[in-house]
Subunit: 688 residues, 2 copies
């Protein structure tokens, strides 16, 4: 058994390799030329805005984190005054803080490079596609490899010190809460700016996207970084860590605690190898290149995990469950691609519906969004049932472990998934800088091509993220059950005909809806302020509208509005969701809480898929019209499609992607508090 | 015991009283003056259009019904070639047909009077509010009392002949499938016409609502009748019957089969008494009058059921559960009122958001719609848990019986609820006729007042309908479990950690979404055709736009487009939903089917509440602006609000209300096929 104990060290070693790769890529970026003075000016404004936001966000969050860690220290895993092992409370608290810090750092590193890579990619675009693409991709990969590196390293360190998956759960909780806030705050920021910039600039005045006259244009570019780069990184950081911890907990009683760590380590190596192959030739298609990298990584992962399973004589059923997850991740990604890609019927039909005006465009896009939930949900269901039955013959407890491994399999290659995803906003920014700095039409065309590839990759990665979150939270439900069993000695079942489970489920269904509503209302409130400010500047700054030389809008003011608004709105929604979880638990007990989690998961998945896909679809329907169909730019159909796109913005970039993190956080809260809730709850008092 | 056996006859007697009341009201309507020749012309066009639609709809549905009844006869409750009692197959088939016919007849009666009451109410408005209101209300009440009368009479007849609640389930299934189609078809029709009329008339040309120049105006008025009158009646017919049957089945083993029938009978008497008191004075407020009628009916119901429970020495716990349902129905209604009423913050904020354009209006309204699901879901949960625990001490089986009684309690006063609801489209039509016939401004003002009262009442009744459907389907889930238990002798639990239940639930979540999508795409496709046609008429008919005398649009063409489209689109969505239920059952077995039902119920309730409330909210935000706020009619904010209202149209009048019926139908399919599925399913083959 000696060899097994040490083998899990493959995890921290791979994590270090991952961080090193990120470091090398970041060196590569730093060496590149940042372009003309004007470009550097713009980039520096973006960087300054992004850093200012992160600084304020992290200040608020550190206060929150300190409060929560005090509570954890006092109450978890057992109240300090009742426990025989106060050291565990301290361990859990430190793990929680460590998780928050790692998640925050990953966001910081990634964004730091992203805000440099944008102008360098724009500059390289002056010489063609090849290098500009590479800068964009590697800039994104810094984020990708920071996330998986810090995530897996953190898990390994906490595990090495405590040897207790339950304490690692605290690390995961720290990572998830920070992610939730980062996602919510970034999401509100980015859409406040985007809507403000678009509605006044594009719709009211008819000036192009990224026009330097638009006062909100810098805020918009900052938003891409804080929302899409840092936010997406945070989102997957949290699912990634949770998926590993869950399988560690489920594997604990089966003596299989090493496998998730080893497989996660191999996943990182596969992603590093995959990333190194990503290069596009002079005539290559960047979108296809990104996807090829993904498929190659999957293949490497499948082969390496098979070999190691064979060598170490692991039961191949576990490998099978892992690969089921991996494959279904890709399948789910492809279905979202169908609903959001420009060439496919849903986008075309929605574009056509724009001929009847904005309302019909929205009804049509929303309807396809509703349709799009079917296949991914079946995909998650089929993946879990196959994984379950592959591992069930190994004995009791293995079946759910198999479902956990499927989630881990799906997330194993997440280093590359994030790289592809963070590539998007970087080249989007590059396009913005090229436009604002007045580069040639040809250069802008190159950045357009890069941008389009980002959208293709994004559809697949978003499907991936939601699928992975779905499988992970299903495993988290099993973990919760396991922990309750540990605390009570009883097997609880989440039987929907039990009235406590049922009322929990009914409340649970509503929470993701209310959470989304709060975020989107935050966006619409802020966008309102932003629109007023942009209108004011155009009205009051003479010569701005006409584009007179040396007349500049007040970019900082818009950046400030977006920042303040996002900071103000990010806490309430997330805090509400966490508090409701505790309220349901401490009043209704573990059964109500189980039903509540199930309800949250169901409605969270439904709304996340609906919002992400319909948002992407409206975006591409607008682009389809802009490519000259149904009247092209400036036509009535285009105006209608812009309304749809604007509605889709907070759907796909604020509420939708935050929901994954929300359900993970709530599941973790439930698992962490389960033991306490078993003892203290109102339902117990009333019914026993 | 003799007295008990006969006491349930209170049900058919009350049902006859209900039908008689409907008949008297309909006589009252017929005696009223129909107004000027022009008004009669318009009303006759509306009536012709509505009848033509119903005729075609019923033709299509009778083919469908014959096919289904053949299948029922062959397979249910047991395959004809295996059963020892083929008579039961025939009974079930006849019950199914009888249910369809009763549901269809209720729709026909109600609509027939509604299409007469509209012009008579408009005519009476020339002399003031009082009589016009009474005609509107009594016109609606014909629908209300036809529905409950035919529903309860049908149940009583089937029960009297067969003495088997399982056969009564067939009656309920017939009623529900017909309702589903009527709701879907009517919903598509009404919104096709409404959107077509509004988008070209109001938005593009800026002519007023109900302007006789608009070619789609008659189709729009027809839509109010086939969609809102016949549709809403069908919707509540099906919930009403299902709620009674469910409690009969749950009460069977407890020997309490009479109680639901007796209580339902008392509910009708309370509604008749309540309806007779509804009158508005010369200076009265019609909205308050409608609500007062509702509260009074509730009170009468509560007192009478208490008295009869006391006299017959029923356990008062059962009465308590019933009243819990009744109260929670009102509470749920009041919360929807908060989210959709003009005076309240959600509507005001959404109206204010229109200042930033259509997109922000939609984001805001949609967000409030998401928020609005919380309280009703908690309401349903609390009602079921209280009813459960009130009745639990009576012994095993009583707890779920209590939940069923709560649903029945909520629906007991449905006769009055439908009357209030059908009042809305009648006076809406009256307003349209007054406008088209060129009546005085003063008369139009009176009809406006009547119309506004309809909207107030509608918010409460919609909340009622969804709450009742929620409780009913929860009881249906219990019924399903009961039937499976009867077939297998085993208690099945819907444990979410069972992979079959889980995959069922994941698929189930998607179905209401896909179903809504199909209906709304149907609307957007048809609206597209309608818009093209309206644009064509304005383009090609000389003098139409300018309103030259003797130039008439081709109304029939628009009526025809709406009819054809609705007929074409109503079958696929509903058939898909029924087929998916059978597919899940016959592949995954009873557990997967149980999970599937739960998933459908959860996502169905979420989407129904979201769509109904956000739709109502957008409508009223537009009206709020039209009342002169934020720039008033014709301002940019108004245009933005019109887009929101149009998006909300298929939300609140097509997809939202059909979802209740959808989940009832699917639950009934599951219960009817449960025995067969236990024996024949793929999961059985694979896993045993």
């Amino acid at each position: 058994m000696k060899i097994l104990v040490e083998l899990w060290l493959i995890a921290p070693i791979s994590a270090l390799i991952s961080i090193l790769t990120g470091f090398l890529f970041s060196n590569y970026i730093n060496k590149q030329d940042s372009g003309t003075e004007k470009m550097q000016d713009i980039a520096s404004m973006i960087r300054k805005g992004a850093n200012a936001f992160l600084k304020r966000e992290y200040t608020v969050l550190s206060i929150f984190t300190i409060i929560v860690s005090t509570l954890i220290c006092a109450f978890l895993p057992s109240p300090l005054w009742l426990t025989a092992e106060p050291i565990r409370n301290i361990q859990l608290t430190l793990a929680y803080l460590f998780g928050s810090v790692c998640s925050g750092l990953a966001g910081l590193f990634g964004m730091n490079i992203a805000t440099k890579a944008n102008t360098k990619s724009a500059n390289a675009a002056r010489e063609g596609l090849n290098k500009a693409f590479l800068i964009g991709f590697r800039g994104g990969a810094v984020m990708g490899f920071s996330v998986v590196g810090l995530g897996l390293l953190g898990v390994s360190i906490v595990y090495a010190i405590t040897r207790s998956p339950e304490i690692v759960l605290g690390f995961s909780f720290g990572a998830s809460t920070l992610s939730l806030f980062a996602k919510a705050g970034g999401g509100i920021y980015t859409k406040t700016a985007d809507i403000g910039a678009d509605l006044v600039g594009k719709v009211e005045l008819g000036i192009p996207e990224d026009d330097p006259r638009n006062p909100a244009v810098i805020a918009d570019n900052v938003g891409d970084n804080v929302g899409d780069v840092a936010g997406m990184g945070a989102d997957l950081f949290d699912s990634y860590v949770a998926s590993i911890v869950v399988v560690m907990i489920l594997g604990q009683v089966l003596n299989l605690i090493d496998i998730p760590l080893i497989f996660a380590g191999i996943g990182i190596i596969a992603a590093v190898l995959g990333a190194l192959t990503v290069r596009v030739g002079r005539k290559g298609d960047p979108g296809k290149t990104l996807n090829r990298g993904t498929y190659l990584t999957c293949l490497i992962f499948a082969i390496l995990t098979f070999l190691i399973s064979y060598i170490l004589s692991y039961n191949l059923r576990i490998w099978g469950a892992t690969i089921v997850g991996l494959i279904s991740g890709i399948v789910i990604g492809i279905t979202s691609d169908f609903y959001t890609s420009e060439g496919k019927p849903p986008v075309k039909k929605t574009a056509e519906a724009s001929l009847s005006g904005a309302a019909v465009n929205i009804i049509t896009g929303f309807s396809y969004g509703l349709q799009s939930v079917l296949l991914p949900l079946i995909g998650i269901g089929v993946a879990s049932i196959i994984a379950y039955f592959i591992c069930a013959p190994m004995g009791p407890g293995y079946a759910l472990f198999g479902v956990g491994m499927a989630a881990l399999g799906m997330l194993s290659i997440v280093g590359l998934v994030i790289s592809n995803d963070a590539y998007g906003p970087i080249v989007d920014n590059a396009r913005g800088i090229a436009e604002q700095a007045g580069l040639d039409e040809e250069v802008i065309n190159v950045t357009d091509q890069l941008d389009a590839a980002g959208n293709t990759a994004k559809a697949i990665t978003k499907g991936f993220a939601i699928g992975a979150a779905g499988l992970t939270v299903i495993s988290l439900l099993a973990t919760y059950q396991e922990i309750v069993k540990g605390a009570t000695g009883q097997n609880i079942t989440f039987d929907l005909m039990n009235p406590l489970v049922l009322i929990g489920a009914l409340v649970g269904i509503a929470i993701p809806a209310v959470f989304s509503a709060m975020l989107m209302l935050g966006v619409s409130k802020n966008a309102f302020r932003m629109i007023e400010e942009v209108r004011r500047q155009f009205r009051e700054i003479p010569g701005l509208k006409e584009g007179k030389e040396n007349v500049k809008p007040d970019y900082e003011k818009c950046v400030d509005i977006a920042t303040r608004g996002a900071i103000r709105e990010l806490l309430p929604a997330s805090a509400l969701a966490i508090c409701t979880t505790l309220i349901v638990g401490f009043t209704g007990g573990v059964l109500a809480l189980g039903g509540y989690l199930a309800g949250c998961i169901f409605s969270g998945l439904l709304l996340a898929l609906l919002m992400s896909n319909s948002g992407g679809l409206w975006d591409n329907a607008k682009k389809f019209i802009e490519s000259g169909k149904y009247g092209g730019k400036g036509s009535d159909a285009h105006k209608a499609a812009v309304v749809g796109d604007t509605v889709g913005d907070p759907f796909k970039d604020t509420a939708g992607p935050s929901l994954n993190t929300l359900i993970t956080v709530m599941s973790l809260v439930a698992s962490l508090f389960a033991t306490l809730i078993v003892e203290y709850n109102l339902a117990n008092l009333i019914f026993t």
